[in-house]
Amino acid sequence: MFNDSLKQLSKRLADREISSVELTTEFLKRIKQLNPQYNAFITVDDEKALAQARIADQKIATDKAIPLTGIPVAQKDIFCAKGWLTTCGSKMLSNFVSPYDACVIERFNQAGAVNIGKTNMDEFAMGSSNETSFYGPVRNPWDVAAVPGGSSGGSACAVAARMAPVATGTDTGGSIRQPAALCGISGIKPTYGTVSRYGMIAFASSLDQGGPMAKSAEDLALMLNVMTGFDARDSTSLQRETEDYMRNLEKPLSGLRIGLPKEYFAEGMSSDVEKAVEQALGEYRKLGAETLEVSLANSSLSIPVYYVLAPAEASSNLSRFDGVRYGHRAKAYENLGDMYRKSRAEGFGAEVKRRILIGTYVLSHGYYDAYYIKAQKLRRLIAEDFKRAFTHCDVIMGPTAPTVAFDIGEKSSDPIQMYLSDIYTSGASLAGLPGMSIPIGFGEKNRPVGLHIVGNYFAEARMLNVAHQYQLVTDWHQQAPDL
């Protein structure tokens, strides 16, 4: 049952083979058993989860169930959920119980899903290893010595370790895709503006995008059907007709043009990752796809551009955490300035402080044009590269991350090395394009490898189709660590 797809779980619920309360109880038990070691969850609340499960069972009993009714969903602790501790992985919000629901949480509630718990994450989503969390690192279910990736490391771990059937994540420069790759699961970051950011604690507003993490592309499609849609409370939310992300899953791939950016296959990719990617591409050719070389000439600039723009926005977004209205406030202080300094010095971790400093610097008088404006111009060039590439191909493929999961502690003292984990994912983020990662095998130390698929704007259904067809002929996505 822990390996079941959403469709299978829904069928069990519909057939009354199991109730949502029973299903929820089973997952809660598994969390109790595994979480002390893996640390995927910050908050688990049996009572709240079971209350939602009981409501779901009533809906099922009266035939009012829709897909996801009664299904446990792990929620990244970046989404505000009414009555739930919502920490964003930070000491700053270690006492913050949200008085309201994020749009994403509302939509799962309306669907009758069960919030099985709030997952661990890098502090304020700043990190690629889940080591910056105030609540301690998350461990990779495939190897406890390895990181799960980040920032949605808790969600990736929860799904990979089968502590939850599905989870939500958020992605600013790769925070859904990279941990999905490192934990051997599937994850998609939709086109910017597809999932409402209302109630999703902001890191870098122009890049942040929520998305699902699951075992398969099919589950991702079901999740997207719930999570997406226009929300008037988010001015960057796009007004589009609702889509059924399941609609293209079964289409054959013959004629699919896969673009392979020559810059990605040049250097920096480790050989085990390269081998797995080559194998996956071979599988796609067998499915009738053709591969061709494309160029993303400015791709080497995405990390520098990202690390100007994201910290700039973050430095401003995190100003609200001042200890005045909610969140951590220093116990003793001499005056207002002292209160700010101490509260923020105590409440934020090192990586968050580093990014606030970088962001404040690049926005400062005299540096703004050289950094922020320049980075915005380059951001446009990076987007234009993708636009040009998509005139030749339908999807772009490559590795999600340059290496398999690294060890806990291996890169935590070297921010630049850590930042390079997002080298393949940050480009799509800067361009606002949808990107996803699916498992395609194992590399060094038997740690998972992910394939990165980038589509054109609003091509999610096509990308899910591309992933699903691969998953029909391979079983990497069904492999689970033996826990």
């Binding site: 122009s206 409370r233 988010d234 001015s235 995190l318 703004y368």
Partner: protein
């Protein structure tokens, strides 16, 4: 040395929308602290701003009224600084591409007209309020005001005296009320001025170092603060000193300005475009639609009063100082188009004096325009004298007699005697009874004539038509 004063004003007008500029909370004044602050105003984690379309429309209307350029796209930017009453740690304002750019406002000082150029007008949100009393050494924060829509209207340094600055502020104040974008309530802070003041030797082109005086919330304070500041700066310069660029506060109790912060202490606000808000696109159709609902503007109406009613520039200015006064005048003048000057005199004289005395607005005037017009018609046709008309007016104002004008004249016996033969008879009687004065007049004492007029008026209890009395007397004495 001769000094020239240079003044530019920044005026914060609170826009009269229903809700805040980026949230649905009410902006009504005077509620209990923090009862009009929603999740967005409190800057809870995860909340996002959504622009109030009404605020944008108000800004466009101002732009149209001053002949400015409406920028499209227009961009919102974050102004970053820490303060307890600024919940997000940044204020959403505009920096590059403000919604309104350029334009000008015509002011009148005495009989002189002058155009003051506007630099820009941009939308922004107000901050909350820090409350320093009643918290035993701590401070309280009231976020009701946080997020209230403001339009900051910035002028060029085109004013050369405190009188011009006050005229500009008053004209702008009248304009924003006229077009219905701001209630203009200065006590409640709906219209607040900051003045940038500098002086330079007359004839020198380069501006002197300026000081900004913050938060002047009455025209009187604006004038006094500028006057004080000008004197202060001239004193320093004449003593061989230099002016330090700084922000100053006006203390009304002491009638002085004092340092608030110097330029060196100024924040680096790190403006950048707010990624939570899309650039605002303003279509020509949207602008046209707003143009079509904009009322006739004071400047146009003023010109029309001069051409259509033959009023002086001064009269036309006074009568267009608010839309309510202008509407009142127009309602009266429509009935007596040929006597517009008489209408103007009465509104600027009698009505205005009474309103001032009772501290009333013209919208609450107990004498409606139709009744005033009827009364003025009776003055014009000679039925009542100007003096008697004032008695009728008092009756109408106090509501002593709830009758139409003619009935009041009748009841009060105020009808003017305009019958020539009746007046002639009275004149004869007066001349017979005052031989001495008749003789004095004939001997060249002009004053004696007035005394005789007085006698006739007295005999008729003031009801005789004075023009006729004059004419008949002259005829009889010549």
């Amino acid at each position: 040395m001769q000094w020239e004063i240079v003044i530019g004003l920044e005026v914060h007008t609170q826009l009269s929308t229903q809700s805040k500029i980026f949230s649905g909370a009410s902006i009504a004044y005077g509620a209990m602290p923090n009862t009009q602050a929603c999740a967005v105003d409190l800057a809870l984690p995860g909340v996002l701003p959504v622009l109030n379309r009404g605020a944008v429309e108000h800004a466009i209307k101002l732009g149209l009224a001053v002949g400015a350029k409406i920028n499209s796209p227009s961009i919102f930017a974050r102004k970053n600084y820490f303060y307890p009453d600024l919940p997000k740690g940044y204020q959403i304002s505009q920096y590059e591409l403000p919604i309104v750019e350029g334009g000008n406002i015509c002011i009148q000082v005495g009989e002189t007209e002058k155009y003051i150029r506007l630099t820009r007008a941009h939308l922004e949100e107000d901050a909350g309020k820090s409350l320093h009393e009643d918290f035993h050494g701590m401070s309280g924060i009231d976020l009701n005001r946080a997020g209230t829509p403001l339009l900051e209207i910035v002028s060029e340094p085109d004013m050369r005296s405190s009188a011009e600055a006050v005229a500009y502020a008053k004209t702008l104040h009248a304009l924003v009320r006229w077009i219905g974008i701001c209630d203009g309530n200065m006590q409640e802070g709906s219209f607040r001025c900051d003045a940038n003041v500098s002086v330079r030797p007359r004839g020198v082109e380069k501006f002197g170092t300026r000081c900004e005086i913050k938060n002047l919330n009455s025209f009187r304070f604006l004038e006094k603060a500028i006057d004080f500041e000008v004197d202060r700066q001239i004193d320093i310069l004449e003593d061989g000193g230099t002016i330090r660029q700084e922000t100053r506060l006006y203390d009304a109790n002491k009638d002085e300005t004092r340092t608030m912060r110097s330029k060196e202490d100024a924040n680096d606000y790190r403006y950048f475009p707010d990624p939570d808000l899309l650039p605002v696109e303003i279509s020509p159709a949207w602008i046209d639609q707003l143009k079509s609902v904009l009322p006739e503007l004071p400047q146009a109406r003023r010109a029309r009063y001069i051409s259509e009613y033959d009023l002086s520039a001064y009269d036309a200015s006074v009568l267009t100082s608010s839309r309510e006064i202008a509407d009142y005048f127009e309602a009266v003048a429509k009935q007596l188009p040929a006597q517009a000057k008489l209408c103007a005199n009465w509104i600027m004289g009698e009505i205005s004096a009474r309103l001032n005395k009772e501290d009333m607005d013209i919208t609450a005037c107990p004498v409606p325009p139709e009744k005033l017009a009827a009364l003025l018609a009776r003055i014009h046709d000679g039925t009542v004298s100007g003096k008697a008309a004032k008695t009728v007016f008092e009756c109408m104002w106090s509501g002593e007699l709830d009758q139409d004008v003619d009935a009041i004249i009748e009841t009060k016996g105020l009808k003017q005697i305009s019958d020539n033969s009746a007046i002639e008879k009275l004149v004869d009687e007066v001349l017979a009874a005052n031989e001495q004065q008749v003789a004095d007049y004939r001997n060249g004492k002009e004053k004696a004539f007035n005394a005789l007029v007085g006698q006739v008026m007295k005999a008729t209890k003031g009801q005789a038509n004075p023009t006729q009395v004059n004419a008949i007397l002259k005829k009889k004495l010549s």
